[in-house]
C-alpha cells in the first residue's frame, strides 16, 4: 500500500485521539468517510460502478463472456477478478511496482466473493459441462487513500447489481454442433441477485481501540488489522489478519464483532441507494468523472 511517513509526534497525536474516539477528521471510530457511488459509468461494459470514498477512487468494470465451466463443477459459471494498481494512484505503482499489491487484492477478492452463496453461480450456467457465463471483474485503482478493500467490495457489489447479461439460447444445428443465439432485443437481459454479495470491512488496531475506514496516516500508526467480509445476514465469508504485528485473541473477537455490526449496517442503505438510482432510469444525469 502506498505509505506516508509520519513523525513520532504525529503518531502519538493520532493514537491519543483514537483513544478518545476522535479521529483526525472528526469522525468516530466506526464512521465511514463520505462515499459517492455511481453505476453504469462505462458504456462498453456489461456492468460498471465507480466509488469515491474520501480520496480513494475505484472503478469496476464487469464483462460477461461465454466460456467453458470448470471440470469439477460443470453446472456453474464463475467470476474472475483482476485488480490493476495503475500508476495514476501513486508513482510507486509505476511499471511492476503495483503488481504485488494487485495480486494480494485479487486473491482476497477471490476468497471473499467466490463462494457459492454470494452469487448464485448456477444461474450463470448456459448448458452444463459446455457453456457458462464467466464474469470478468476488473478493478481499477484511480486514487489511493487507504481502505482499498472496503471501497472495492462496495464498488463490486454495485457493479454486479448493474450488470446486464444478455439472454442466450443454445440450439442444435444440422451437423450436431451447438449454435448460440442472442435474442434480438438488446434490453432482454438477465440481472444478478446481489442480496448475498458480501461487503468487506477493514478494522485497524490503533493503540487499544480499533478503527474502521482508516486513512493512510492512521494506517501508518497501526501494526495489525483485521479484514472481515460480511453479508447482509451477518454471516462472515472471509477473515484475514494483516500487518506485521500480532493480536490478542480478545481483540480479534472484539474486532470481528464490531466488523460484523458495521458490515451488516452497510448493506441496507446501499441496496436502497442502488434501487433509487435504478428507478431514475433514462432521465438520470450522469455525473461521471468530472463531478
Amino acid at each position: 500500500m502506498a505509505a506516508v511517513r509520519l513523525s513520532e509526534a504525529e503518531k502519538v497525536y493520532i493514537i491519543h485521539g483514537v483513544r478518545d474516539d476522535l479521529r483526525l477528521d472528526g469522525r468516530g471510530c466506526e464512521d465511514y468517510r463520505h462515499m459517492e457511488i455511481e453505476t453504469d459509468v462505462v458504456s462498453n461494459t456489461d456492468g460498471s460502478a465507480k466509488i469515491s470514498l474520501g480520496h480513494t477512487d475505484v472503478l469496476v468494470g464487469i464483462k460477461a463472456e461465454i466460456g467453458k465451466p470448470k471440470p469439477m463443477v460443470p453446472n456453474e459459471g464463475y467470476l474472475e477478478f483482476f485488480v490493476d494498481c495503475s500508476a495514476n494512484a501513486t508513482p510507486e505503482f509505476e511499471g511492476r511496482g503495483g503488481e504485488d499489491l494487485g495480486v494480494e487484492l485479487s486473491n482476497t477478492l477471490y476468497k471473499a466473493f467466490n463462494n457459492r452463496r454470494s452469487v448464485d453461480l448456477r444461474s450463470l450456467c448456459i448448458s452444463p459441462g459446455e457453456h457458462c457465463w464467466v464474469l470478468y471483474v476488473d478493478v481499477l485503482l484511480l486514487q489511493c487513500d487507504g481502505n482499498l478493500f472496503d471501497a472495492m467490495s462496495i464498488a463490486i457489489k454495485a457493479a454486479l447489481f448493474n450488470t446486464r447479461i444478455s439472454k442466450v439460447q443454445i440450439s442444435e444445428d444440422d451437423e450436431g454442433g451447438k449454435e448460440i443465439e442472442l435474442s434480438d432485443d438488446p434490453y432482454d437481459c438477465m440481472r444478478l441477485n446481489v442480496e448475498n454479495v458480501p461487503c468487506i470491512v477493514t478494522l485497524c488496531k490503533i493503540g487499544h481501540r480499533h478503527v474502521v475506514d482508516a486513512t493512510l496516516q492512521e494506517k501508518a500508526c497501526s501494526l495489525a488489522s483485521v479484514l472481515i467480509s460480511v453479508t447482509h445476514r451477518g454471516t462472515v465469508t472471509c477473515v484475514r489478519k494483516m500487518g506485521r504485528g500480532s493480536l490478542d485473541p480478545e481483540s480479534i473477537f472484539e474486532m470481528t464483532e464490531a466488523g460484523k455490526r458495521v458490515g451488516k449496517s452497510l448493506h441496507a442503505p446501499l441496496m436502497q441507494l442502488l434501487q433509487e438510482e435504478e428507478s431514475l432510469g433514462k432521465k438520470r444525469q450522469k455525473v461521471g468523472f468530472l463531478g
Binding site: 451477518g234 477473515v239 484475514r240 506485521r244 504485528g245 500480532s246 493480536l247 470481528t256
Partner: protein, 270 residues
C-alpha cells in the same frame, strides 16, 4: 525448451482421470471412522537440522502431509529502502511440489502459492525479532512434498522450527492449526478430503476453513485466515478450538527443538 516438431504429441487438453469417477465411488468424508475424534489433531513427527547447507531446517509430517522448510540468512538485503536500515526483512517462499496434490501442479508459482507465501509471511513476522537484524534479510523456503490437508498451518509451524533451529532470534515459536467447519460440527486438523468436503455440501450452511497462527507463551494470534461462509459465533468457537489445538502439540515441537540443540552442541560429558 524448444518443442520437438517431429514428435507426435498427445491431445492439447488433458484431464485428470479422477474427474471421470462416478459419484458413489468418491469416499464419504462425514466421519473420521473412530481413528481420531473431531477435536483431535493428527500425531506429528518433527525433526530439525536435516539440510546441511541451510542455516536452519525442519521437516514435519502430520498424517500424510509432509512439509520441509529451510532457512537461509541473515544475509545482506537485495533492495534497500529506509525501513531496511532499522529492521530486518523476512522473505517467505511457499511452494507445492507438482506431485503433491491429486491434480498435477505447475512449477511456476501460481496465484494460490503467492497467496500462501503472503499468509506465511504475515504469520511469522510478529514472532521474529527483526529489529536485531538491521539491513539484512532472512529467507524462509517452504516446500510441501505431499498435501493431505492443513498445509498452511503445518507450514507455519515447520518454518518457525526451522528459524529456531537456525538460531534466528524470536519472541516465541509460532504454531499453526487448521479447522474445517462443517455445518454445526468442526474437524480439527482436516485431511485433504475433509478440507475439500463433499461438493454437494458446499451449498449447505456454515461451511468454511479456518487457519490460525499462535504464539503460545505470549498468547498472541499472529495469523488468521478464514474462508467460506460462517456465522460469527462459529468463527469465534473455531478460533478458540484452534488455539487449544496449538497448545496440544506444543510439547512435541519443544522436544524436537531440544533434541536438535543437543545434537548440535552436545552437553559436556560428566
Amino acid at each position: 525448451m524448444p518443442f520437438d516438431t517431429k514428435r507426435i504429441r498427445g491431445p492439447e487438453e488433458s484431464q485428470s482421470p479422477l474427474l471421470f469417477l462416478s459419484p458413489d465411488k468418491v469416499p464419504e468424508s462425514s466421519s473420521r471412522q473412530g481413528v481420531r475424534g473431531n477435536g483431535d489433531v493428527r500425531p506429528v513427527f518433527a525433526r530439525c537440522g536435516l539440510i546441511s547447507q541451510a542455516k536452519g531446517s525442519a521437516y514435519l509430517e502430520a498424517g500424510n502431509t509432509k512439509i520441509i522448510c529451510s532457512v537461509y540468512g541473515p544475509k545482506e538485503t537485495e533492495r534497500k529502502d529506509e525501513t531496511d536500515m532499522k529492521t530486518g526483512r523476512l522473505v517467505c517462499d511457499f511452494r507445492l511440489a507438482p506431485f503433491s496434490c491429486l491434480k498435477r501442479g505447475a512449477w511456476i508459482q501460481g496465484s494460490e502459492e503467492r497467496d500462501l507465501s503472503a499468509a506465511l509471511l504475515e504469520s511469522l513476522q510478529p514472532g521474529v525479532c527483526l529489529h536485531k537484524y538491521p539491513r539484512s534479510q532472512i529467507e524462509v523456503n517452504v516446500m510441501v512434498l505431499e498435501n493431505d490437508g492443513s498445509i498452511l498451518a503445518h507450514a507455519i509451524t515447520c518454518a518457525s522450527m526451522a528459524l529456531a533451529d537456525g538460531g534466528i532470534e524470536m519472541y516465541d515459536v509460532v504454531l499453526g492449526c487448521a479447522l474445517r467447519q462443517n455445518g454445526d460440527s468442526c474437524l480439527v486438523d482436516p485431511s485433504y478430503t475433509e478440507e475439500c468436503g463433499n461438493w454437494q455440501a458446499g451449498y449447505g450452511e456454515n461451511q468454511g476453513c479456518v487457519t490460525l497462527a499462535l504464539l503460545p507463551n505470549l498468547n498472541q494470534v499472529s495469523g488468521l485466515n478464514a474462508e467460506g461462509e460462517m456465522r460469527e459465533d462459529s468463527l469465534t468457537d473455531a478460533v478458540r478450538t484452534c488455539m487449544d489445538g496449538c497448545h496440544k502439540l506444543y510439547p512435541v515441537y519443544q522436544q524436537a527443538l531440544i533434541r536438535a540443540v543437543k545434537k548440535k552442541a552436545p552437553p559436556p560429558e560428566k
